[in-house]
């Protein structure tokens, strides 16, 4: 039982981040620079503009020993400033 616990803690986690809101140049840069600041890797990313609404979904790999909360906090703050609705989904290990 304990062994399994240890193993789990050394596995990387994934979160899926989505952001939606009014489009303008620079949104991708601001959002991706936060991920880069944390040193996390974007595994997959899709972004599109529909009717001038910016829609982004990206899968981010979080190292096992890193905290998701700090990223969430910073990203929420940024997206709030940019006028984007942001959501975080835990996407497994």
């Amino acid at each position: 039982m304990q062994k399994e616990e240890v193993k789990k803690d050394t596995q990387d986690r994934y979160i899926l981040i989505t952001a939606v809101g009014p489009n303008r140049p620079g949104l991708m840069a601001e959002i991706s620079s936060i991920i880069a600041e944390f040193g996390y890797n974007i595994e997959d990313l899709d972004q599109v503009v529909m009717k001038n609404i910016f829609i982004l979904s990206m899968l981010v790999k979080i190292p096992f020993n890193a905290s998701i909360d700090r990223l969430k906090e910073k990203m929420s703050y940024l997206c709030n400033e940019l006028g984007l609705e942001v959501s975080f989904y835990y996407a497994g290990r």
Partner: protein, 327 residues
């Protein structure tokens, strides 16, 4: 008035372009590229980014430059430079050209498909290495034209036995990934061409090896087993290389926007500039500045990803396998 309207219209059309960036997967790639676009107020319309071939990361960005603060050619050069600085391969194509399926790909030989400059190897074998280098330099500086330079260099090779050619042939090093790349391109239905100012004995040999459909090169004249010091052929200048690819396109009934060209030197410049997608492979400065794309790593296979020939099937299989594991 009419003309004005038309100009305006083409400007609008020309505002869209597609940027493909490929590199070894690591944090910060998306931030690098989108950072440049943001700095100059370029609007990203669509992004697709994913890890492919397990260790490469590919980003495809469709952008609208109508809000850009700088001219498009300046933007392209900044993008190329910033990608090069961090070891990323990049291709930037106008939407006008991007929407055409690519059907033909032509390669320069020396420095692109193979490592060596064949004329230098021949000169070394003939013991005229220094003289040949001097002429090459003069041609580069524009003191003599390409044709004269070629003739003068070949003249110095007079009397070289054919056995030496065989020896050079066996010492030629094909660049990493070339065989896999050309095999894949064949599978995808591409016509492959070699357009080179190099010589027939090596061009045809490499052509056969990679299954080239077209080989344009110069011919060394041989008499009684020795080089006569004469050369036949017309691939001597940037114009000649462009004409060769035009010939291929015409024969296949396609436009230049369906062609891809890869080279490294100044004489590849016209063909690289005028095809739909012209890529500099470890290019000289002048090519770097005017090519649509750059590959600076050893691995020419990256070209596949730059051209958008990403194996999506494999990608989907991998994804579904991952999905099974996760459920």
């Amino acid at each position: 008035m009419n003309l004005d309207l038309r100009c305006h219209f083409t400007m609008l059309e020309d505002n869209k372009m597609v940027i493909t960036v490929v590199g070894t997967d690591r944090p910060g790639i998306v931030a690098n590229v989108t950072g440049v676009l943001a700095r100059f107020h370029v609007n990203i319309l669509k992004t697709r980014a994913s890890t492919i071939f397990s260790d490469l990361f590919v980003i495809i960005l469709a952008v609208d430059t109508s809000t850009s603060l700088i001219r498009r050619d300046v933007l392209m050069n900044i993008l190329k430079k910033s990608c090069e600085d961090v070891g990323l391969a990049v291709a930037i194509e106008s939407f006008q050209s991007y929407k055409y399926d690519k059907k033909v790909i032509v390669f320069d030989l020396d420095g692109t498909l193979i490592e060596q400059e064949v004329i230098d190897e021949l000169a070394k074998a003939a013991g005229v290495g220094e003289e040949v280098k001097k002429i090459t330099k003069m041609a580069m500086e524009g003191k003599i034209n390409y044709l004269e330079a070629l003739k003068a260099r070949v003249r110095l090779l007079k009397g070289l036995p054919v056995s030496v050619l065989e020896k050079i042939k066996s010492s030629i090093i094909i660049n990493p990934g070339v065989k896999e790349l050309t095999l894949k391109l064949k599978e995808l239905g591409f016509k492959i061409g070699i357009i080179t100012g190099s010589f027939d004995f090596i061009s045809n040999y490499i052509g056969k090896l990679i299954g080239a459909d077209y080989v344009f090169c110069n011919k060394l004249i041989i008499e009684d087993g020795y080089l006569t010091g004469e050369v036949e052929g017309e691939i001597t200048s940037p114009e000649a290389k462009l004409n060769a690819i035009k010939k291929i396109a015409k024969e296949l009934g396609i436009g230049l926007e369906s062609c891809v060209a890869i080279g490294d030197g100044a004489n590849d410049l016209f063909m690289i500039e005028n095809v739909g997608l012209g890529i500099g492979y470890k290019p000289k400065l002048i090519v770097k500045e005017r090519a649509h794309g750059l590959i600076n790593t050893d691995d020419i296979r990256i070209l596949l990803a730059l051209m958008g020939c990403i194996d999506l099937k494999k990608d989907i299989v991998k994804r579904l396998e991952k999905y099974d594991k996760n459920v």
